[in-house]
């Protein structure tokens, strides 16, 4: 599903150049649930941003579902993001003046799905995350966990190849975190490929594979026994 070879990325800070990713080789199979771990500054968010086509790579190759991702202009990147990727953010990033259902329907709008179908799908995915009765509520009327579940529904709505979650539980207390992880696990059980960036050990162990990043290189890449989040809920 994801194939990365010899990935380099550096940022220019004035005269200095900050080499963030120093040659990463990494691949993800379909249906995997991968945790990317590392301390801050290790380059895990940068990696996720490059995977999400929010940022460009300097060197190396990136293939997503057989499509080589290179020479992206903004429009092309937008279309790929829309087609291939679903994002889950630490700070939820819901649009605050849109109801839960409208938020979920937004990626479908950019896929030019008809309004009626958008609404049907939005309700379907809200039901999956257990928030159907909250469909007409604004994000400000939802709790943090509910917001993240709406965000997950939104990421799912576009039916992407890969879900990218950047610290999905970073802003939640542990109980809610487990609820969210339970949801992510269930989505993964349905065969979806999911990448989770986290720095929390317990969250990482709820995935099936843990990739450790340190100073821009992968120092550890191991399969783990998945801890089901359901038992904590």
């Amino acid at each position: 599903m994801i194939e990365i070879k010899n990935l380099h990325k550096s940022y220019k800070m004035g005269k200095n150049s900050l080499h963030v990713l120093k040659g990463i080789d990494f691949s993800v199979e379909e249906g995997e649930l991968v945790a990317i771990m590392g301390s801050s500054g290790s380059g895990k968010s940068t990696l996720l941003n490059i995977l999400g086509m929010l940022d460009e790579l300097d060197e190396g190759t990136y293939t997503l579902d057989g499509v080589p991702i290179k020479n992206l202009n903004e429009t092309k990147a937008a279309n790929y993001r829309n087609k291939f990727l679903g994002f889950i953010f630490q700070s939820f990033n819901l649009i605050n003046y849109k109801s839960a259902a409208e938020n979920v329907a937004l990626p479908l709008y950019y896929q030019r799905v008809s309004r009626k179908e958008r609404q049907e799908k939005a309700l379907k995915y809200l039901e999956q995350v257990g928030l159907k009765q909250w469909a007409t509520h604004l994000p400000s009327e939802l709790s943090g966990g509910q917001k993240q579940r709406v965000a997950i529904a939104r990421a799912m709505a576009a039916e992407p190849k890969v879900l990218l979650a950047d610290e999905p539980t970073g802003a939640l207390d542990s109980t809610t975190s487990y609820e969210v992880m339970d949801l992510i696990q269930k989505i993964n059980d349905q065969g979806n490929t999911i990448l989770v960036v986290t720095h929390e050990e317990d969250i990482a162990h709820m995935c099936k594979r843990i990739v450790h990043l340190k100073d821009g290189v992968i120092v550890e890449d191991k399969k783990v026994e998945q801890v089901r989040a359901a038992q904590y809920v």
């Binding site: 941003n49 999400g52 929010l54 940022d55 903004e74 429009t75 937008a78 279309n79 993001r81 829309n82 087609k83 994002f87 953010f89 700070s91 990033n93 819901l94 649009i95 605050n96 003046y97 849109k98 409208e102 937004l106 990626p107 709008y109 950019y110 896929q111 030019r112 008809s114 309004r115 939104r154 576009a158």
Partner: protein, 420 residues
């Protein structure tokens, strides 16, 4: 351009502006105010223009009066201070020599210029009124509205020197009973009985005559008062689109020539140029129209810039939202279109509201000034001006919307998302 006609686009835009009510209202008020000022000002200026037009409607707009005074320079053996007397024969000479002249109405009068008004009697009632000896051509220079059933002096009256008269509304009130039909009745003017053939209305605007002036045929006046070929003053109307100031100069020069006055003598003949006055007044009204146009457009401009400003701020505020949209697959073009269309849509809404409001205020002003003695009639803004203003607004709205739109696009989605 397909996106403009896409219902989904508009639903998205409508959602965005209807759910940010404060922002929308503040934005709208700027342009609304601008277009309102524009409509109200240019309508008011037009109303004043129309008002002046109405004031002058009963007189020929390029007309003048010429009368004789007395010389101030010696010439050909004549000494200074010789009184000037205009003659009927001057009419033909003027018409022959000055082709710009359309009509000349000679007039002889009692009760104006210091002479005593004439004592007029009907039955038990009486009064003293100015009396004018006139030719029918007079009505071509100053329209006289005659009440139903009457007429002005005609050519036959002149030929036969009939003893007929046209009286004013005030004469009617003072000499006749209420509801009495004056036509065909006789009144005594001085020592002679005249038959009333018409009653003239007092015109609301500029008029040469009072509402108590009595008109009789010029020839009758000549015989009655033994004035020979004397004329008190000429009412002269030039053709349209003629420089009336030049005509005035030509007329006076010709009169000096006819009456053997020093060509340099400016004081021998007096004149009053209504055309010049009208040109000045209408120039003033035109100036007002122009001024209101400039002020109005400047206000619209300020309003549109205000919209741009608020959109720019709101783009900053919405950076995150736009970042999210782009992460979810909105292309830069889609984001840009959304911002620009929001701008255009807001401008249009505000513009239309402003036009309606402005038209409402104009109609209120119109109602309030209807019965006032004030030169203000029918304030309107021509449709092309309104459409032009709308067009300007849409174009400016698009251009000004491009600034925040470009800004929104220039921020990378990754940076937009990072912003807290």
């Amino acid at each position: 351009m397909k996106f403009i006609f896409d219902r989904n686009t508009w639903q998205e835009i409508f959602g965005s502006i209807s759910k940010n009510k404060t922002r929308t209202i503040i934005t709208i008020v700027g342009v609304l105010w601008g277009i309102f000022i524009y409509i109200a000002l240019s309508g008011a200026a037009k109303g004043m223009d129309n008002g002046f037009e109405k004031v002058f409607e009963s007189v020929s707009m390029n007309s003048m009066f010429v009368w004789g005074q007395s010389t101030s320079m010696p010439y050909e053996g004549f000494k200074t201070g010789r009184p000037m007397q205009l003659k009927l024969g001057d009419v033909a000479k003027m018409q022959n020599r000055i082709p710009e002249i359309n009509n000349i109405a000679p007039r002889i009068t009692l009760g104006n210029f210091g002479s005593d008004p004439v004592f007029t009697v009907r039955g038990q009632k009486s009064g003293s009124y100015p009396v004018n000896g006139d030719y029918p051509v007079y009505t071509k220079i100053a329209t006289k509205q005659i009440f139903d059933g009457g007429r002005f002096i005609n050519d036959e009256d002149i030929l036969q020197a009939r003893k007929v008269c046209v009286i004013g509304e005030r004469n009617l009130q003072e000499l006749f009973e209420k509801d009495e039909d004056p036509i065909g009745q006789f009144i005594r003017i001085g020592d002679v009985y005249f038959q009333v053939v018409g009653v003239h209305k007092l015109s609301q605007g500029v008029s040469f005559d009072n509402d108590n002036a009595i008109f009789i045929p010029f020839t009758t006046f000549q015989k009655l008062y033994n004035t020979g070929d004397n004329v008190d003053y000429f009412c002269i109307a030039a053709y349209d689109n003629v420089d009336v100031v030049q005509v005035e100069k030509d007329v006076k020069a010709l009169l000096r020539n006819i009456h053997r006055v020093n060509p340099e003598d400016e004081r021998a003949f007096g004149s009053f140029n209504l055309g010049e006055m009208f040109t000045r007044v209408s120039g003033f009204a035109k100036g007002m129209t122009f001024l209101s146009l400039v002020v109005g457009i400047a206000t619209i401009l300020a309003g549109v810039i205000g919209i741009g400003n608020i959109l720019l701020i709101s783009v900053k505020e919405r950076t995150k939202e736009l970042g999210v949209r782009r992460a979810l697959g909105a292309t830069p073009a889609e984001v840009r279109n959304q911002i620009v269309l929001e701008s255009v849509f807001l401008t249009m809404i505000a513009g239309v509201m402003g036009i309606i409001l402005g038209a409402g205020v104009l109609s209120i002003i119109n109602n309030l000034t209807k019965d006032l003695d004030f030169p203000y009639t029918n304030p309107t803004v021509p449709i092309p001006y309104v459409l032009g203003a709308l067009l300007i607004m849409v174009v400016l709205g698009t251009l000004i919307g491009l600034i925040p739109a470009q800004r929104a696009v220039s921020i990378k989605p990754i940076d937009a998302l990072r912003e807290e």
